[in-house]
Protein backbone atom coordinates (compact mmCIF):
# COMPACT_ATOMS: atom_id res chain seq x y z
CA UNK A 1 0.00 0.00 0.00
CA UNK A 2 2.79 2.32 0.99
CA UNK A 3 4.66 1.73 -2.27
CA UNK A 4 1.48 2.18 -4.34
CA UNK A 5 1.05 5.61 -2.86
CA UNK A 6 4.67 6.46 -3.53
CA UNK A 7 4.27 5.31 -7.09
CA UNK A 8 1.25 7.52 -7.80
CA UNK A 9 3.10 10.41 -6.26
CA UNK A 10 6.07 9.76 -8.50
CA UNK A 11 3.74 9.57 -11.50
CA UNK A 12 2.19 12.88 -10.59
CA UNK A 13 5.64 14.44 -10.27
CA UNK A 14 6.64 13.12 -13.70
CA UNK A 15 3.44 14.51 -15.21
CA UNK A 16 4.05 17.95 -13.76
CA UNK A 17 7.65 17.84 -14.88
CA UNK A 18 6.62 17.05 -18.47
CA UNK A 19 4.04 19.84 -18.47
CA UNK A 20 6.48 22.29 -16.94
CA UNK A 21 9.13 21.57 -19.58
CA UNK A 22 6.65 21.95 -22.42
CA UNK A 23 5.31 25.12 -20.84
CA UNK A 24 8.81 26.53 -20.70
CA UNK A 25 9.42 25.70 -24.35
CA UNK A 26 6.17 27.46 -25.30
CA UNK A 27 6.67 30.52 -23.14
CA UNK A 28 10.40 31.25 -23.47
CA UNK A 29 10.25 32.35 -27.14
CA UNK A 30 7.36 34.68 -26.30
CA UNK A 31 9.18 36.04 -23.27
CA UNK A 32 12.28 36.61 -25.40
CA UNK A 33 10.23 38.58 -27.89
CA UNK A 34 8.55 40.80 -25.29
CA UNK A 35 11.76 41.46 -23.35
CA UNK A 36 13.95 41.73 -26.43
CA UNK A 37 11.82 44.66 -27.50
CA UNK A 38 12.93 46.51 -24.35
CA UNK A 39 16.66 45.98 -24.91
CA UNK A 40 19.32 47.94 -26.70
CA UNK A 41 21.10 46.18 -29.52
CA UNK A 42 24.14 45.73 -27.30
CA UNK A 43 22.10 44.23 -24.47
CA UNK A 44 20.34 41.93 -26.84
CA UNK A 45 23.62 40.72 -28.27
CA UNK A 46 25.14 40.13 -24.85
CA UNK A 47 22.08 38.61 -23.19
CA UNK A 48 19.23 37.49 -25.42
CA UNK A 49 17.55 35.63 -22.57
CA UNK A 50 18.07 37.90 -19.59
CA UNK A 51 15.98 40.66 -18.16
CA UNK A 52 16.55 44.07 -19.78
CA UNK A 53 18.45 46.45 -17.52
CA UNK A 54 17.85 49.24 -17.95
CA UNK A 55 14.56 49.02 -19.83
CA UNK A 56 14.60 50.84 -23.15
CA UNK A 57 11.03 51.69 -24.04
CA UNK A 58 12.10 53.63 -27.17
CA UNK A 59 11.46 50.86 -29.61
CA UNK A 60 7.90 50.27 -28.47
CA UNK A 61 7.23 53.99 -28.20
CA UNK A 62 8.65 54.72 -31.64
CA UNK A 63 6.44 52.04 -33.13
CA UNK A 64 3.34 53.10 -31.22
CA UNK A 65 3.80 56.77 -32.10
CA UNK A 66 4.48 55.91 -35.73
CA UNK A 67 8.06 57.20 -35.77
CA UNK A 68 9.15 53.79 -36.98
CA UNK A 69 7.22 51.37 -39.15
CA UNK A 70 3.47 51.61 -39.66
CA UNK A 71 2.02 49.42 -36.95
CA UNK A 72 -1.35 51.14 -36.57
CA UNK A 73 -1.99 51.28 -40.30
CA UNK A 74 -1.22 47.60 -40.68
CA UNK A 75 -3.38 46.79 -37.67
CA UNK A 76 -6.26 48.71 -39.25
CA UNK A 77 -5.71 46.94 -42.57
CA UNK A 78 -5.79 43.54 -40.88
CA UNK A 79 -8.93 44.59 -39.05
CA UNK A 80 -10.69 45.81 -42.20
CA UNK A 81 -9.81 42.65 -44.09
CA UNK A 82 -10.80 40.49 -41.12
CA UNK A 83 -14.17 42.16 -40.57
CA UNK A 84 -14.87 42.17 -44.30
CA UNK A 85 -14.14 38.46 -44.53
CA UNK A 86 -16.27 37.62 -41.48
CA UNK A 87 -19.18 39.72 -42.80
CA UNK A 88 -18.89 38.05 -46.20
CA UNK A 89 -18.79 34.53 -44.81
CA UNK A 90 -21.71 35.19 -42.44
CA UNK A 91 -23.93 36.76 -45.07
CA UNK A 92 -23.21 34.49 -48.02
CA UNK A 93 -22.78 31.39 -45.85
CA UNK A 94 -25.93 31.79 -43.76
CA UNK A 95 -28.07 32.43 -46.84
CA UNK A 96 -26.77 29.38 -48.66
CA UNK A 97 -26.77 27.18 -45.57
CA UNK A 98 -30.39 28.11 -44.85
CA UNK A 99 -31.48 27.17 -48.36
CA UNK A 100 -29.56 23.90 -48.25
CA UNK A 101 -30.71 22.98 -44.75
CA UNK A 102 -34.40 23.83 -44.83
CA UNK A 103 -35.71 24.14 -48.36
CA UNK A 104 -36.81 21.33 -50.60
CA UNK A 105 -35.80 21.64 -54.23
CA UNK A 106 -34.50 19.33 -56.88
CA UNK A 107 -30.81 20.09 -56.91
CA UNK A 108 -30.38 20.50 -53.16
CA UNK A 109 -28.09 17.58 -52.41
CA UNK A 110 -26.20 18.07 -55.66
CA UNK A 111 -25.44 21.70 -54.88
CA UNK A 112 -24.33 20.77 -51.37
CA UNK A 113 -22.00 18.12 -52.78
CA UNK A 114 -20.64 20.73 -55.19
CA UNK A 115 -19.73 23.04 -52.29
CA UNK A 116 -18.17 20.10 -50.47
CA UNK A 117 -15.66 19.85 -53.32
CA UNK A 118 -14.07 22.93 -51.81
CA UNK A 119 -12.78 20.83 -48.93
CA UNK A 120 -10.58 19.02 -51.43
CA UNK A 121 -9.10 22.09 -53.10
CA UNK A 122 -6.28 23.67 -51.15
CA UNK A 123 -5.70 27.38 -51.70
CA UNK A 124 -2.19 26.64 -52.90
CA UNK A 125 -3.51 24.86 -55.99
CA UNK A 126 -5.57 27.85 -57.04
CA UNK A 127 -3.09 30.59 -56.28
CA UNK A 128 -1.60 31.15 -59.76
CA UNK A 129 -4.90 31.20 -61.69
CA UNK A 130 -6.37 33.27 -58.88
CA UNK A 131 -3.64 35.82 -59.48
CA UNK A 132 -4.41 35.90 -63.20
CA UNK A 133 -8.15 36.09 -62.51
CA UNK A 134 -7.84 38.96 -60.02
CA UNK A 135 -5.67 40.78 -62.52
CA UNK A 136 -8.34 40.37 -65.20
CA UNK A 137 -11.03 41.69 -62.84
CA UNK A 138 -8.67 44.58 -61.90
CA UNK A 139 -8.78 43.44 -58.28
CA UNK A 140 -5.03 43.18 -57.71
CA UNK A 141 -3.82 45.50 -54.97
CA UNK A 142 -7.37 46.03 -53.68
CA UNK A 143 -8.82 44.97 -50.34
CA UNK A 144 -11.82 43.36 -51.96
CA UNK A 145 -9.33 41.24 -53.93
CA UNK A 146 -8.17 39.71 -50.65
CA UNK A 147 -11.59 39.49 -49.00
CA UNK A 148 -13.42 37.69 -51.81
CA UNK A 149 -10.97 34.77 -52.20
CA UNK A 150 -10.77 34.40 -48.42
CA UNK A 151 -14.57 34.17 -48.24
CA UNK A 152 -14.70 31.75 -51.15
CA UNK A 153 -12.11 29.43 -49.65
CA UNK A 154 -13.81 29.42 -46.23
CA UNK A 155 -17.24 28.65 -47.68
CA UNK A 156 -17.04 24.86 -47.95
CA UNK A 157 -16.07 24.33 -44.32
CA UNK A 158 -18.40 27.00 -42.94
CA UNK A 159 -21.38 25.82 -44.98
CA UNK A 160 -20.89 22.38 -43.50
CA UNK A 161 -20.96 23.73 -39.93
CA UNK A 162 -23.87 26.13 -40.54
CA UNK A 163 -26.02 23.67 -42.47
CA UNK A 164 -25.62 21.01 -39.81
CA UNK A 165 -26.72 23.40 -37.10
CA UNK A 166 -29.65 24.94 -38.99
CA UNK A 167 -30.92 21.52 -40.00
CA UNK A 168 -31.20 20.52 -36.35
CA UNK A 169 -33.59 23.36 -35.49
CA UNK A 170 -37.01 21.72 -34.90
CA UNK A 171 -39.66 21.80 -37.61
CA UNK A 172 -42.41 22.89 -35.22
CA UNK A 173 -40.89 26.37 -35.16
CA UNK A 174 -41.28 26.60 -38.89
CA UNK A 175 -44.94 25.64 -38.70
CA UNK A 176 -45.57 28.19 -35.97
CA UNK A 177 -43.90 30.88 -38.03
CA UNK A 178 -45.94 29.90 -41.06
CA UNK A 179 -49.13 30.29 -39.02
CA UNK A 180 -47.88 33.68 -37.87
CA UNK A 181 -47.53 34.63 -41.51
CA UNK A 182 -43.75 34.66 -41.74
CA UNK A 183 -42.19 34.36 -45.18
CA UNK A 184 -38.89 32.61 -45.92
CA UNK A 185 -36.82 35.66 -45.11
CA UNK A 186 -38.85 36.57 -42.04
CA UNK A 187 -38.33 33.07 -40.71
CA UNK A 188 -34.63 33.21 -41.53
CA UNK A 189 -33.98 36.53 -39.82
CA UNK A 190 -36.45 36.31 -36.92
CA UNK A 191 -36.09 32.66 -35.98
CA UNK A 192 -33.11 30.91 -37.55
CA UNK A 193 -30.46 33.61 -37.10
CA UNK A 194 -31.21 34.31 -33.40
CA UNK A 195 -31.27 30.59 -32.66
CA UNK A 196 -27.98 30.05 -34.48
CA UNK A 197 -25.93 32.53 -32.45
CA UNK A 198 -23.55 29.88 -31.05
CA UNK A 199 -22.62 28.51 -34.46
CA UNK A 200 -22.46 32.00 -35.97
CA UNK A 201 -20.04 33.01 -33.22
CA UNK A 202 -17.92 29.94 -33.86
CA UNK A 203 -17.88 30.58 -37.61
CA UNK A 204 -16.97 34.24 -37.04
CA UNK A 205 -14.10 33.38 -34.75
CA UNK A 206 -12.64 30.71 -37.04
CA UNK A 207 -12.90 33.06 -40.00
CA UNK A 208 -11.43 36.03 -38.14
CA UNK A 209 -8.44 34.08 -36.85
CA UNK A 210 -7.88 32.57 -40.29
CA UNK A 211 -7.98 35.96 -41.96
CA UNK A 212 -5.83 37.59 -39.27
CA UNK A 213 -3.07 35.01 -39.67
CA UNK A 214 -3.30 34.68 -43.43
CA UNK A 215 -0.20 35.70 -45.31
CA UNK A 216 -0.50 33.93 -48.65
CA UNK A 217 -3.51 35.80 -50.08
CA UNK A 218 -2.39 39.32 -49.10
CA UNK A 219 1.11 38.49 -50.38
CA UNK A 220 -0.42 37.53 -53.70
CA UNK A 221 -2.68 40.56 -54.03
CA UNK A 222 -1.09 43.56 -52.34
CA UNK A 223 1.61 45.64 -53.88
CA UNK A 224 1.39 48.99 -52.17
CA UNK A 225 2.72 49.15 -48.68
CA UNK A 226 -0.15 51.18 -47.31
CA UNK A 227 -2.46 48.19 -47.74
CA UNK A 228 -0.21 45.64 -46.02
CA UNK A 229 -1.71 43.54 -43.25
CA UNK A 230 0.21 42.74 -40.06
CA UNK A 231 1.88 39.51 -41.23
CA UNK A 232 3.04 41.31 -44.39
CA UNK A 233 4.08 44.27 -42.29
CA UNK A 234 6.21 42.00 -40.12
CA UNK A 235 8.03 40.57 -43.14
CA UNK A 236 8.47 44.03 -44.64
CA UNK A 237 9.72 45.52 -41.38
CA UNK A 238 12.22 42.73 -40.97
CA UNK A 239 13.51 43.36 -44.47
CA UNK A 240 14.05 47.04 -43.69
CA UNK A 241 15.66 46.63 -40.27
CA UNK A 242 17.82 43.67 -41.18
CA UNK A 243 19.86 43.43 -37.99
CA UNK A 244 18.10 45.76 -35.57
CA UNK A 245 16.67 42.78 -33.79
CA UNK A 246 15.46 44.82 -30.84
CA UNK A 247 13.27 46.83 -33.24
CA UNK A 248 12.05 43.70 -34.99
CA UNK A 249 11.22 41.98 -31.70
CA UNK A 250 9.25 44.95 -30.42
CA UNK A 251 7.30 45.03 -33.67
CA UNK A 252 6.69 41.28 -33.41
CA UNK A 253 5.45 41.65 -29.85
CA UNK A 254 3.01 44.38 -30.81
CA UNK A 255 1.82 42.33 -33.77
CA UNK A 256 1.17 39.38 -31.46
CA UNK A 257 -0.91 41.36 -28.96
CA UNK A 258 -4.25 41.47 -30.83
CA UNK A 259 -4.33 37.71 -31.47
CA UNK A 260 -3.34 36.95 -27.88
CA UNK A 261 -5.94 39.35 -26.47
CA UNK A 262 -8.63 37.86 -28.70
CA UNK A 263 -7.55 34.40 -27.59
CA UNK A 264 -7.75 35.31 -23.90
CA UNK A 265 -11.16 36.96 -24.33
CA UNK A 266 -12.88 34.30 -26.41
CA UNK A 267 -10.79 31.25 -25.63
CA UNK A 268 -13.87 29.06 -25.39
CA UNK A 269 -15.07 29.92 -28.90
CA UNK A 270 -11.62 29.82 -30.42
CA UNK A 271 -10.63 26.43 -29.05
CA UNK A 272 -14.06 24.93 -29.68
CA UNK A 273 -14.23 26.50 -33.13
CA UNK A 274 -10.78 25.66 -34.39
CA UNK A 275 -10.74 22.09 -33.15
CA UNK A 276 -14.32 21.18 -32.27
CA UNK A 277 -15.49 22.50 -35.60
CA UNK A 278 -13.08 20.14 -37.26
CA UNK A 279 -14.04 17.25 -35.00
CA UNK A 280 -17.74 17.58 -35.66
CA UNK A 281 -17.23 17.99 -39.39
Amino acid sequence: MQSMKGQTRLMAAVKYLICAIVLLIVVVPLYISVMGGFKSTGQLRAEPMGFPSPFYANQYLDLLTGKQGSFWMELMNSLIIGIGTVAGVLLVGTFAAYALARMKFKLNSLIYAYFQLGLLFPLAVAILPLYVQLRTFKLLDTRIGVVLPQVAFQLAMMLMLLRGFIKAIPNELEEASAIDGCGQFGFLFRVIVPLSTPILATVSVITLVGSWDNFFTPLLVFNSQRKFTLPMGVMDFMGQHASDWNMILSFLTLAMVPAVVLYVLCQKYIVAGLTGGAVKG
Binding site: K15, C19, V22, I25, V26, V28, P29, L30, G36, P48, M49, V92, F95, A96, A99, M103, I111, Y114, F115, G118, L120, F121, P122, A124, V125, A126, I127, L128, P129, Y131, V132, Q133, V151, A152, F153, L155, E172, E174, E175, A178, G183, Q184, D213, F215, L230, P231, V234, M238, W245, L249, M256, A259, V260, Y263, I270, V271, L274, T275, A278, V279
Partner: protein, 298 residues
Protein backbone atom coordinates in the same frame (compact mmCIF):
# COMPACT_ATOMS: atom_id res chain seq x y z
CA UNK B 1 -42.41 13.06 -37.91
CA UNK B 2 -46.16 13.43 -37.99
CA UNK B 3 -45.74 17.07 -38.89
CA UNK B 4 -43.46 16.60 -41.83
CA UNK B 5 -46.16 16.96 -44.47
CA UNK B 6 -47.75 19.96 -42.89
CA UNK B 7 -44.47 21.84 -42.60
CA UNK B 8 -43.83 24.83 -44.64
CA UNK B 9 -43.54 28.41 -45.30
CA UNK B 10 -44.71 28.00 -48.83
CA UNK B 11 -42.74 26.60 -51.67
CA UNK B 12 -39.19 27.58 -52.44
CA UNK B 13 -39.63 29.99 -55.31
CA UNK B 14 -36.87 30.28 -57.84
CA UNK B 15 -36.30 33.90 -56.92
CA UNK B 16 -35.85 33.07 -53.23
CA UNK B 17 -33.41 30.31 -54.08
CA UNK B 18 -31.48 32.57 -56.42
CA UNK B 19 -31.12 35.24 -53.74
CA UNK B 20 -30.07 32.72 -51.11
CA UNK B 21 -27.75 30.52 -53.13
CA UNK B 22 -26.64 32.85 -55.92
CA UNK B 23 -23.88 34.77 -54.13
CA UNK B 24 -22.32 31.64 -52.65
CA UNK B 25 -22.44 29.79 -55.96
CA UNK B 26 -20.93 32.66 -57.92
CA UNK B 27 -18.13 33.30 -55.44
CA UNK B 28 -17.30 29.66 -54.99
CA UNK B 29 -17.37 28.88 -58.70
CA UNK B 30 -15.31 31.83 -59.90
CA UNK B 31 -12.72 31.84 -57.14
CA UNK B 32 -12.36 28.17 -56.13
CA UNK B 33 -13.56 25.83 -58.87
CA UNK B 34 -12.62 27.75 -62.02
CA UNK B 35 -9.04 28.51 -60.85
CA UNK B 36 -8.38 24.84 -60.19
CA UNK B 37 -9.43 23.97 -63.73
CA UNK B 38 -7.47 26.91 -65.09
CA UNK B 39 -4.38 25.61 -63.35
CA UNK B 40 -4.91 22.39 -65.26
CA UNK B 41 -5.13 24.35 -68.55
CA UNK B 42 -2.01 26.41 -67.78
CA UNK B 43 -0.12 23.23 -67.06
CA UNK B 44 -0.03 22.33 -70.76
CA UNK B 45 1.43 25.64 -71.89
CA UNK B 46 4.54 27.67 -71.67
CA UNK B 47 3.24 31.03 -70.52
CA UNK B 48 4.62 33.98 -68.59
CA UNK B 49 1.18 35.21 -67.57
CA UNK B 50 1.14 38.08 -70.06
CA UNK B 51 -0.31 38.10 -73.55
CA UNK B 52 -2.15 35.20 -75.14
CA UNK B 53 -1.44 31.64 -74.14
CA UNK B 54 -0.24 30.11 -77.43
CA UNK B 55 2.86 28.02 -76.76
CA UNK B 56 1.26 24.62 -76.28
CA UNK B 57 3.71 22.12 -74.84
CA UNK B 58 1.55 19.07 -74.35
CA UNK B 59 2.93 16.99 -71.53
CA UNK B 60 6.38 18.56 -71.56
CA UNK B 61 5.78 20.43 -68.31
CA UNK B 62 4.82 17.17 -66.69
CA UNK B 63 7.96 15.50 -68.01
CA UNK B 64 9.95 18.38 -66.56
CA UNK B 65 8.13 17.98 -63.24
CA UNK B 66 9.07 14.32 -63.02
CA UNK B 67 12.72 15.06 -63.74
CA UNK B 68 13.07 18.26 -61.74
CA UNK B 69 15.62 17.66 -58.96
CA UNK B 70 14.20 20.52 -56.88
CA UNK B 71 10.73 18.98 -57.07
CA UNK B 72 12.16 15.73 -55.73
CA UNK B 73 13.88 17.60 -52.94
CA UNK B 74 10.79 19.63 -52.03
CA UNK B 75 8.50 16.59 -52.04
CA UNK B 76 10.98 14.68 -49.91
CA UNK B 77 10.92 17.56 -47.43
CA UNK B 78 7.12 17.47 -47.37
CA UNK B 79 7.23 13.75 -46.65
CA UNK B 80 9.81 14.23 -43.88
CA UNK B 81 7.66 16.94 -42.31
CA UNK B 82 4.61 14.67 -42.44
CA UNK B 83 6.52 11.72 -40.96
CA UNK B 84 8.01 13.78 -38.14
CA UNK B 85 4.56 15.13 -37.35
CA UNK B 86 3.23 11.59 -37.15
CA UNK B 87 5.99 10.01 -35.09
CA UNK B 88 6.96 12.92 -32.85
CA UNK B 89 4.27 15.58 -32.71
CA UNK B 90 1.17 13.41 -32.42
CA UNK B 91 2.56 11.15 -29.66
CA UNK B 92 3.68 14.26 -27.76
CA UNK B 93 0.22 15.73 -28.18
CA UNK B 94 -1.31 12.46 -27.04
CA UNK B 95 0.80 12.27 -23.89
CA UNK B 96 -0.09 15.84 -22.99
CA UNK B 97 -3.77 15.27 -23.72
CA UNK B 98 -3.81 12.23 -21.43
CA UNK B 99 -2.08 14.13 -18.64
CA UNK B 100 -4.13 17.29 -18.92
CA UNK B 101 -7.55 15.67 -19.25
CA UNK B 102 -7.20 13.68 -16.04
CA UNK B 103 -9.72 15.32 -13.68
CA UNK B 104 -7.36 14.76 -10.76
CA UNK B 105 -4.63 16.76 -12.47
CA UNK B 106 -4.60 20.25 -10.99
CA UNK B 107 -3.89 23.21 -13.23
CA UNK B 108 -5.05 21.52 -16.39
CA UNK B 109 -6.89 24.61 -17.69
CA UNK B 110 -3.75 26.68 -17.16
CA UNK B 111 -1.55 24.26 -19.12
CA UNK B 112 -4.12 23.81 -21.88
CA UNK B 113 -4.42 27.55 -22.36
CA UNK B 114 -0.70 27.96 -22.85
CA UNK B 115 -0.20 24.86 -24.96
CA UNK B 116 -2.79 26.05 -27.47
CA UNK B 117 -1.41 29.60 -27.60
CA UNK B 118 1.22 29.09 -30.36
CA UNK B 119 -1.50 27.83 -32.68
CA UNK B 120 -3.27 31.20 -32.49
CA UNK B 121 -0.19 33.19 -33.55
CA UNK B 122 0.27 33.78 -37.25
CA UNK B 123 2.80 31.57 -39.00
CA UNK B 124 4.74 34.58 -40.19
CA UNK B 125 5.12 36.01 -36.69
CA UNK B 126 6.14 32.56 -35.43
CA UNK B 127 8.68 32.17 -38.21
CA UNK B 128 10.31 35.55 -37.67
CA UNK B 129 10.46 35.01 -33.91
CA UNK B 130 12.30 31.73 -34.42
CA UNK B 131 14.63 33.37 -36.91
CA UNK B 132 15.80 35.43 -33.98
CA UNK B 133 16.13 32.42 -31.71
CA UNK B 134 18.26 30.68 -34.34
CA UNK B 135 20.29 33.79 -35.15
CA UNK B 136 23.99 32.95 -34.59
CA UNK B 137 24.98 36.50 -33.64
CA UNK B 138 22.12 37.41 -31.32
CA UNK B 139 19.84 34.55 -30.62
CA UNK B 140 19.27 31.94 -28.02
CA UNK B 141 21.35 29.39 -29.92
CA UNK B 142 24.29 31.74 -29.58
CA UNK B 143 23.67 32.16 -25.84
CA UNK B 144 23.46 28.40 -25.47
CA UNK B 145 26.75 27.87 -27.27
CA UNK B 146 28.46 30.58 -25.25
CA UNK B 147 27.38 28.76 -22.13
CA UNK B 148 28.05 25.16 -23.13
CA UNK B 149 30.77 25.30 -25.80
CA UNK B 150 32.44 28.68 -25.26
CA UNK B 151 35.20 27.92 -27.74
CA UNK B 152 32.90 27.03 -30.63
CA UNK B 153 31.14 29.56 -32.79
CA UNK B 154 27.36 29.16 -32.84
CA UNK B 155 26.05 27.54 -36.02
CA UNK B 156 23.63 29.34 -38.34
CA UNK B 157 20.97 26.66 -38.21
CA UNK B 158 18.78 28.34 -40.81
CA UNK B 159 21.72 29.12 -43.08
CA UNK B 160 23.12 25.62 -43.30
CA UNK B 161 21.73 23.17 -45.83
CA UNK B 162 22.14 20.26 -43.43
CA UNK B 163 20.18 21.81 -40.56
CA UNK B 164 17.60 24.20 -42.03
CA UNK B 165 14.84 21.62 -42.48
CA UNK B 166 15.21 20.33 -38.94
CA UNK B 167 15.22 23.84 -37.58
CA UNK B 168 11.94 24.52 -39.40
CA UNK B 169 10.51 21.23 -38.12
CA UNK B 170 11.11 22.26 -34.51
CA UNK B 171 9.05 25.37 -35.14
CA UNK B 172 6.26 23.39 -36.80
CA UNK B 173 6.02 21.09 -33.80
CA UNK B 174 6.16 24.11 -31.46
CA UNK B 175 3.28 25.75 -33.28
CA UNK B 176 0.97 22.80 -33.91
CA UNK B 177 1.27 20.30 -31.03
CA UNK B 178 -1.35 22.24 -29.03
CA UNK B 179 -3.85 21.97 -31.87
CA UNK B 180 -3.51 18.19 -31.98
CA UNK B 181 -3.57 17.99 -28.20
CA UNK B 182 -6.89 19.82 -28.17
CA UNK B 183 -8.35 17.48 -30.79
CA UNK B 184 -7.25 14.53 -28.64
CA UNK B 185 -8.78 16.07 -25.52
CA UNK B 186 -12.08 16.38 -27.36
CA UNK B 187 -11.78 12.73 -28.34
CA UNK B 188 -11.01 11.66 -24.78
CA UNK B 189 -14.13 13.39 -23.51
CA UNK B 190 -16.27 11.22 -25.75
CA UNK B 191 -15.08 8.00 -24.11
CA UNK B 192 -17.60 6.85 -21.50
CA UNK B 193 -16.03 6.94 -18.04
CA UNK B 194 -17.77 3.68 -17.12
CA UNK B 195 -15.70 1.81 -19.70
CA UNK B 196 -12.45 2.91 -18.13
CA UNK B 197 -13.77 2.29 -14.62
CA UNK B 198 -14.96 -1.18 -15.58
CA UNK B 199 -11.55 -2.00 -17.03
CA UNK B 200 -9.87 -0.74 -13.86
CA UNK B 201 -12.10 -2.89 -11.67
CA UNK B 202 -11.28 -5.87 -13.88
CA UNK B 203 -7.67 -5.22 -12.93
CA UNK B 204 -6.38 -4.12 -16.32
CA UNK B 205 -3.06 -2.27 -16.25
CA UNK B 206 -2.87 1.37 -17.33
CA UNK B 207 -1.17 0.44 -20.58
CA UNK B 208 -3.77 -2.18 -21.23
CA UNK B 209 -6.58 0.31 -20.66
CA UNK B 210 -4.92 2.80 -22.98
CA UNK B 211 -4.44 0.20 -25.71
CA UNK B 212 -7.81 -1.46 -25.60
CA UNK B 213 -10.21 1.20 -24.32
CA UNK B 214 -8.80 4.70 -24.69
CA UNK B 215 -7.10 4.52 -28.06
CA UNK B 216 -9.94 2.71 -29.88
CA UNK B 217 -12.37 5.18 -28.33
CA UNK B 218 -10.38 8.07 -29.80
CA UNK B 219 -10.28 6.70 -33.31
CA UNK B 220 -12.04 9.62 -34.95
CA UNK B 221 -9.82 12.24 -33.40
CA UNK B 222 -6.63 10.32 -34.16
CA UNK B 223 -7.75 9.90 -37.76
CA UNK B 224 -8.44 13.62 -37.98
CA UNK B 225 -5.05 14.54 -36.57
CA UNK B 226 -3.27 12.22 -38.97
CA UNK B 227 -5.26 13.69 -41.84
CA UNK B 228 -4.47 17.29 -40.86
CA UNK B 229 -0.78 16.52 -40.35
CA UNK B 230 -0.33 14.97 -43.76
CA UNK B 231 -2.50 17.34 -45.81
CA UNK B 232 -1.11 20.29 -43.83
CA UNK B 233 2.47 19.31 -44.57
CA UNK B 234 1.80 19.32 -48.31
CA UNK B 235 0.32 22.82 -48.12
CA UNK B 236 3.00 24.36 -45.95
CA UNK B 237 4.02 27.83 -47.10
CA UNK B 238 3.86 30.79 -44.68
CA UNK B 239 6.10 29.44 -41.95
CA UNK B 240 8.77 28.28 -44.39
CA UNK B 241 8.62 31.56 -46.29
CA UNK B 242 9.09 33.52 -43.06
CA UNK B 243 12.15 31.47 -42.15
CA UNK B 244 14.22 31.97 -45.25
CA UNK B 245 11.92 31.21 -48.20
CA UNK B 246 13.12 27.64 -48.53
CA UNK B 247 16.76 28.65 -48.92
CA UNK B 248 19.70 28.08 -48.74
CA UNK B 249 19.95 26.13 -52.01
CA UNK B 250 16.41 24.77 -51.69
CA UNK B 251 17.37 22.91 -48.52
CA UNK B 252 14.20 24.11 -46.81
CA UNK B 253 12.03 24.14 -49.92
CA UNK B 254 8.54 22.70 -49.79
CA UNK B 255 6.45 22.02 -52.86
CA UNK B 256 4.27 25.11 -52.38
CA UNK B 257 7.19 27.51 -51.84
CA UNK B 258 8.72 26.12 -55.03
CA UNK B 259 5.47 26.58 -56.92
CA UNK B 260 5.25 30.16 -55.72
CA UNK B 261 8.80 30.90 -56.84
CA UNK B 262 8.26 29.33 -60.26
CA UNK B 263 4.90 30.95 -60.83
CA UNK B 264 5.10 34.40 -59.30
CA UNK B 265 8.80 35.18 -59.08
CA UNK B 266 10.02 33.66 -62.32
CA UNK B 267 6.61 34.05 -63.98
CA UNK B 268 6.63 30.59 -65.45
CA UNK B 269 2.90 30.24 -64.93
CA UNK B 270 2.62 27.17 -67.14
CA UNK B 271 5.07 25.10 -65.14
CA UNK B 272 3.67 26.56 -61.91
CA UNK B 273 0.27 25.26 -63.01
CA UNK B 274 1.79 21.82 -63.52
CA UNK B 275 3.13 21.85 -59.97
CA UNK B 276 -0.29 23.00 -58.69
CA UNK B 277 -2.03 20.16 -60.49
CA UNK B 278 0.42 17.67 -59.04
CA UNK B 279 -0.13 19.02 -55.50
CA UNK B 280 -3.84 18.63 -56.06
CA UNK B 281 -3.43 15.07 -57.33
CA UNK B 282 -1.26 14.13 -54.37
CA UNK B 283 -3.85 15.49 -51.93
CA UNK B 284 -6.69 13.85 -53.86
CA UNK B 285 -5.04 10.44 -54.04
CA UNK B 286 -4.18 10.59 -50.36
CA UNK B 287 -7.73 11.61 -49.58
CA UNK B 288 -9.30 8.74 -51.51
CA UNK B 289 -6.80 6.28 -50.13
CA UNK B 290 -7.35 7.44 -46.57
CA UNK B 291 -11.14 7.34 -46.87
CA UNK B 292 -10.90 3.84 -48.33
CA UNK B 293 -8.79 2.57 -45.44
CA UNK B 294 -11.15 4.17 -42.96
CA UNK B 295 -14.21 2.70 -44.63
CA UNK B 296 -12.59 -0.72 -44.69
CA UNK B 297 -11.66 -0.52 -41.01
CA UNK B 298 -14.92 0.93 -39.80
Amino acid sequence: MRSRHRAGIGKASFLTLAILLGPALILFTTLVIVPVFEAAVFSFYRWNGLGPMVDFRGLQNYAQFIQDAIVHKALLHNVIIAVVSLVLELPLAMVLALIVSDPKFKGSVFFRTFFFLPYVLSEVITGVLWQFIYNPQYGVVKAFYALVFPAVQAPALLGDTSTVLWAILVVIVWKYFGFHMTIFIAGLQDIPREQIEAATIDGASKWRIFGSVTLPGMRTSVQLSVFFSIIGSFQLFDIVWAMGKGDPVNAGETIVTYMYKIGLQRFNIGYGGTIAVCIFLICLVFNIFYQKILVKEG
